[in-house]
Symmetry: none
Subunit: 222 residues, 2 copies
Amino acid sequence: MNILVAEDEIGISNFLKQGLEEENYIVTVASDGEKALRLALSQSFDLLLLDWMLPKLSGIEVCRSFRKSGRTAPVLFLTAKDTVQETIEGLKAGANDYIKKPFSFEELLERIKVQFRSAVTENASYMLGPILLDKEKHQVFIDDREVYLTQKEFSLLEYLIKNKGTVCSRSQIIKEVWNIHFDYESGVIDVFINSIRKKLGLRKEEDYIKTVRGIGYIANEI
Amino acid sequence: MNILVAEDEIGISNFLKQGLEEENYIVTVASDGEKALRLALSQSFDLLLLDWMLPKLSGIEVCRSFRKSGRTAPVLFLTAKDTVQETIEGLKAGANDYIKKPFSFEELLERIKVQFRSAVTENASYMLGPILLDKEKHQVFIDDREVYLTQKEFSLLEYLIKNKGTVCSRSQIIKEVWNIHFDYESGVIDVFINSIRKKLGLRKEEDYIKTVRGIGYIANEI
DNA sequence: GCTCATTCTTAAGATTTACTTAAGACTGGC
DNA sequence: GCCAGTCTTAAGTAAATCTTAAGAATGAGC
């Protein structure tokens, strides 16, 4: 799990980085708001831990911009600004939790875990008809025969199966699988869908990945 | 949105009930832990607001049992137990947030909203009789059976259902669905209405899309 | 019940969108 | 820096949708 910590006081950020890394999180530190936002938008973090008062761009502005870009990763404020009004402002800006300094590191950890909880319970393998996708081992089987998929092919299939039964639009796919958060027109998705279908070797009438014209694709138990 | 409040002090529970109802939540109050758990398991609440100390069964036990049953609705503790250890215990038991008394009602409201945020945004669906139109997933169901509509069919049906109960003129439809903002005579709309009706497979007497001769069409609960 | 205007239905051509292939760009490991 | 594997772009082909138009059906008014 990747966590971005935005904190200008080096003492605190070191403390957080070390503590979180001991819990096996991968931590990136940004020392001002601009850097934090740039990182948050360019990489894909699983959680943002923001101080309110940051040089150049405040934490609350970072949070607002991040949400405005359509990203849904949890955001936690960790700040000395402790009034009710500030808490509310932080939550309204799109934060998922608001923790006041001084804080207990243990409590912070637990509150971070709360954010990941639903994601963790998530099954490590998915099924779709005869297709078995093992997220952990990064393997795909069809009727017990292994099919080798590349990284992107795997992510795309995973996304479709995770959302089986619901149509996934091209823009959603580009967002979630390619991490491109602006309008983007290209035939990439088509090429990968084609390649997945070929590798899975399904005949047209038994295709578990159906095209939804004008929208995107849908994975479905036939 | 249905909220279950488990609180034995009648002053607090009345205050919460009234305040939340003003915000248009539907509130059920349980005065002890056993009642709370029974209600939580038998009905489907969108959120649980638990006091820690409750007669018969503590809030934390209610939370554990609730989670054990596989339910995922958010649980918030609202309690006077304010140590770090208690907070952690509450969160570990499966709570999504832990608010310490005395609390600001405004902050409580905001923290409740945080829990609903993701759920609310994705609720872009309309209903018309047995027809369910999910804007986000771009899917249409009739009596739980999915019907595939093309792009234009979908937009047209969406427009009619969005305006159900009021007649939509041909020129309005051409404007809103086809984005043609000048006078335009053609049979396009008829063709699409026909195709939608056919796909929905409704008999004439149960047609939810009625023709208004000389004007246009109207979607109506029969 | 007849007439005329309006709407329904169908089918064929135009248009848009997706599929497939192949070539070039990129990337990580050696 | 090179190679092998992977990703992306682009262009031609295939397929589905959208539009138009024309004849059939329907309903309102006389």
